[in-house]
C-alpha cells in the first residue's frame, strides 16, 4: 500500500517525465503537422496545428520530384562508412593506447584531443586544397574521410577507456590459451566492451548523418549530396516550400530514429558501465 507521500512523489515524477516527453517530442510532431499543411496556410496565419492527412498525396508527389532516395542513400553511406571506419581504426588505436607502452603515447593522446578543439570551419580551406591534390573533391570517399577525422578520436577515446577497464588477466589468459594478439582484441576484448562500441557508434553515425558543412563545400554534383544538403537546396530565391522541406526532413529523420532505437539499450548499459563494482 502506497503512502500519500510516495503517491505524490510518483505523480510528480510522471508529470516531469510527461513534460520532458512533450518538450522532446513537440518538434517532431510540429514537423509532421507542418509537412501535412499547405504552403499558403504556412505563410499566412491559418496553419492548422494538427496533421491534415488529405494533403499526404500532394506531399508524396512533391517529394517525388527530387532525388530524395538517392540523398538518403548518400547520407546512409557517409554515416555508416564513417562509423565503420571510425570504430575499426578507433578500436585498433584504442587497444594500442590502452595496452602498449611506447614513446609518444601521451603525445598521441594529446594530438587526438586537439582534433576536437579545432572547429570544422577552420580547416575547411586547407582540407579543400588537400582534396584537390588527392583527387577527393566531389567524392563520397573524401567526405567519409573528412568525417572520420573528427569522429575517430572520439571513438578512440571511448574505446580506450572501455578497454582500460577490461582486466589484464583475461587478455593474458587468452594469450596463454594460444590466442594471437589480434584475435585477443576481436574475440575477447571487443565483445566485452560492446556497450562502449555502441556509444561510439552513435557518436560517429550521427556525426556523419548530420554532415552539412563539408558536404556543401566539397560536393558539387547533386547526385552525391547527402540529405542535409538536399534539404537546404529546397530553399529558393523567392519561395521555400516549407511543407516539402519538413516532409523531407521527416523522411530523413526516420532511419536515424530507427538506428537509435536499435542501439539505445546498449548505450545506456555503456554509460553506466563501470559505475558500480561488477
Amino acid at each position: 500500500m502506497m503512502t500519500p507521500r510516495k503517491l505524490a512523489m510518483k505523480a510528480l515524477r510522471y508529470t516531469l517525465i510527461g513534460v520532458l516527453v512533450v518538450l522532446a517530442g513537440f518538434p517532431v510532431y510540429w514537423m509532421a503537422a507542418t509537412a501535412l499543411n499547405v504552403n499558403s496556410q504556412l505563410y499566412g496565419t491559418g496553419q492548422v496545428a494538427w496533421p491534415q492527412l488529405q494533403h499526404l498525396p500532394d506531399l508524396v508527389t512533391e517529394l517525388g520530384n527530387v532525388p530524395i532516395g538517392r540523398w538518403l542513400f548518400n547520407t546512409l553511406l557517409i554515416a555508416s562508412g564513417g562509423t565503420i571506419l571510425s570504430l575499426t581504426l578507433g578500436a585498433l588505436a584504442g587497444y594500442a593506447l590502452s595496452r602498449f607502452k611506447f614513446h609518444g603515447r601521451g603525445l598521441v593522446g594529446f594530438l587526438l584531443f586537439m582534433t576536437q578543439v579545432v572547429p570544422e570551419a577552420l580547416i575547411l580551406v586547407p582540407l579543400y586544397a588537400m582534396f584537390i591534390t588527392f583527387g577527393l573533391l566531389n567524392s563520397l570517399t573524401g567526405l567519409i574521410l573528412a568525417n572520420v577525422g573528427f569522429s575517430l578520436p572520439v571513438a578512440c577515446f571511448v574505446l580506450k577507456g572501455a578497454m582500460d577497464a577490461v582486466p589484464y588477466e583475461i587478455e593474458e589468459s587468452a594469450i596463454i590459451d594460444n590466442c594471437p594478439r589480434f584475435s585477443v582484441l576481436t574475440m575477447i576484448i571487443l565483445p566485452l566492451i560492446m556497450p562502449s562500441i555502441a556509444a561510439a557508434a552513435v557518436v560517429a553515425f550521427f556525426a556523419g548523418w548530420n554532415e552539412f558543412l563539408f558536404a556543401s563545400t566539397f560536393l558539387m554534383d547533386n547526385s552525391l549530396w547527402p540529405a542535409s544538403v538536399g534539404l537546404a537546396s529546397f530553399v529558393g530565391q523567392y519561395e521555400t516550400p516549407m511543407s516539402a522541406v519538413l516532409g523531407a526532413a521527416l523522411v530523413f529523420s526516420l532511419p536515424a530514429i530507427v538506428f537509435f532505437l536499435l542501439i539505445q539499450r546498449k548505450i545506456v548499459a555503456g554509460l553506466t558501465a563501470g559505475a558500480v563494482k561488477g
Binding site: E169, I170, E172, S173, I176, F182, P191
Partner: protein, 386 residues
C-alpha cells in the same frame, strides 16, 4: 614434462628489484609451492615461467634450452589466475573449449567475422566436444556447461578455470593463488580437489600462495621467498621442523614458532633478558642469540612445575585443541601489557583445558626441540658446526 631450471634469474622494475638472483630446479611431476608474503615476487616468478613477464637478467631453461624470449604458446603451460580470468561473454562450455579451439585455428580463421563462424563450427567438432565434456564431467561441471561465468559461484568459477587449464593436457600447470577468493570452507574443499587432481594427472604443478596451510597440505616441495630472495627450498616437513632462518620459522606454522631473545653467560641460559633457565644440553658458544621452539613442543604445567614461569594472556579454544598465549615471568612482565604475537609465547595443547586469562602457570620443553638462530641475521645456528 620439460625440466625447468632457473639460473640467477632477476627481475627489476626501474630501481626496484623484485626477484634477486633466483636459482632453482623444478622436478618432473612435483607439486612445487612458491610461498611468501604479498609482494615477495612469487607471482612475478610464475608469470616469468608462463612468458607473461620479461626476465631482466639470468636464464630460464626449458629442457636445457634458454626460454627467456619464448612466446607463451611455445612453453606449453596452463595458467590458473587468482581472479580466474574466465571469458565473461562465453558459456562454461566455450570457456573450457577455448584453448582447444585456438589450437585448431588456422591462420586465416583469425580474420574478424571468420573467427566467429570458425569458432561455432569447431565447437561442434567431435573431438573438441568430447574432450570438453569429459573434462567438465571430471570436475562436475556438466550441468553448468551452458551457463555464463556471471551466474556461477566462486567455487564453480574456480573449477571452470581449472577445467580450462586441464583441457589442453599441458605438461606444466601454473596456479597463482587460485583459492584466495574463496571462503574458508570452500578453500579447504578445493585444496583437497587440487591435490587429488595433481595425483590423477601426474603433471608438474607450480602453485603460488601466501597461505602456509595451503603450502604445507599440498606441496611436495616448497620454496619460501621474502623480498625477492629465496629463504629455503625443501619438503614441507623439513621446512616446518628445520627452518633455515627466523623468517621461515615465523612464516610457516600457525601459531608461528616461538622466538625468544636469549643470552648465554658462563654457560648459563637466560631468556627474555632476565629469566635464567636450566638448559639440559650444550649451548651454542654465542653471547646473544634467538631461542626457537614450536608451540606444540612446549608443555603446559601448573605454576612452579615447569622451568619457564608464565602468566596466561590469551586463550584460543579451537575445539580439538587450545592455543594459549603466555607472557614469561621475567620480573619485567608488568611493564609491558601488549598482546602482540612477538611478545607472547604460544603453547598448543590438545583438548580444552580449564585455564583462565591471568592465571599463573609454567611452561617446559625438551632440549632437543630447541632451535637456535643468529640474533642479527636470523640464520639458523647448528651446534655441531660451531
Amino acid at each position: 614434462m620439460p625440466a625447468l631450471t632457473f639460473k640467477n634469474v632477476s627481475k627489476t622494475f626501474g630501481d626496484n628489484t623484485v626477484i634477486d638472483a633466483f636459482s632453482a630446479d623444478i622436478h618432473d611431476g612435483e607439486f612445487l609451492v612458491l610461498l611468501g608474503p604479498s609482494g615477495c615476487g612469487k607471482s612475478t616468478l610464475l608469470r616469468m615461467i608462463a612468458g607473461l613477464s620479461d626476465i631482466t637478467s639470468g636464464d630460464l631453461l626449458f629442457d636445457g634450452s634458454v626460454a627467456n624470449d619464448w612466446e607463451p604458446k611455445q612453453r606449453g603451460v596452463a595458467f590458473v589466475f587468482q581472479t580466474y580470468a574466465l571469458y565473461p561473454h562465453m558459456t562454461v562450455r566455450e570457456n573450457i573449449a577455448f584453448p582447444l579451439i585456438m589450437d585448431a585455428f588456422r591462420k586465416w580463421y583469425h580474420l574478424p567475422i571468420v573467427n566467429i563462424v570458425a569458432r561455432h563450427r569447431l565447437m561442434k567438432r567431435a573431438d573438441i566436444a568430447e574432450r570438453t565434456l569429459s573434462i567438465a564431467r571430471q570436475l562436475e561441471l556438466e550441468p553448468l556447461l551452458d551457463r555464463r561465468p556471471a551466474s556461477l559461484s566462486g567455487g564453480q568459477r574456480q573449477r571452470v578455470a581449472l577445467a580450462r587449464a586441464l583441457v589442453r593436457n599441458p605438461a606444466l600447470y601454473l596456479l597463482d593463488e587460485p583459492l584466495s577468493n574463496l571462503d574458508a570452507k570452500l578453500r579447504t574443499q578445493m585444496r583437497s580437489e587440487i591435490s587429488a587432481l595433481h595425483h590423477k594427472v601426474g603433471k608438474t604443478f607450480v602453485y603460488v600462495t601466501h597461505d602456509q596451510v595451503e603450502a604445507m597440505t599440498m606441496a611436495t616441495r616448497i620454496i619460501v621467498m621474502n623480498k625477492g630472495i629465496v629463504q629455503q627450498v625443501d619438503t614441507p616437513d623439513e621446512i616446518y621442523d628445520h627452518p633455515a632462518n627466523t623468517f621461515v620459522a615465523r612464516f610457516v606454522g600457525s601459531p608461528p614458532m616461538n622466538l625468544i631473545p636469549a643470552s648465554v653467560r658462563n654457560n648459563a641460559l637466560q631468556l627474555s633478558g632476565r629469566l635464567a633457565v636450566e638448559h639440559a644440553a650444550p649451548l651454542p658458544p654465542r653471547r646473544e642469540l634467538t631461542f626457537g621452539v614450536r608451540p606444540e613442543k612446549l608443555t603446559l604445567h601448573p605454576a612452579g612445575e615447569g622451568r619457564l614461569p608464565a602468566q596466561v594472556a590469551v586463550v584460543e579454544r579451537l575445539g580439538a585443541e587450545t592455543v594459549i598465549g603466555c607472557r614469561l615471568m621475567t620480573g619485567e612482565e608488568n611493564k609491558d601489557q601488549r598482546l602482540l604475537e612477538h611478545d607472547l609465547v604460544f603453547v598448543r595443547v590438545s583438548g580444552n583445558p580449564k585455564i583462565k586469562i591471568g592465571e599463573l602457570c609454567s611452561l617446559d620443553y625438551q632440549a632437543d626441540d630447541v632451535l637456535w638462530f643468529d640474533i642479527d641475521n636470523g640464520d639458523r645456528i647448528f651446534l655441531d658446526q660451531e
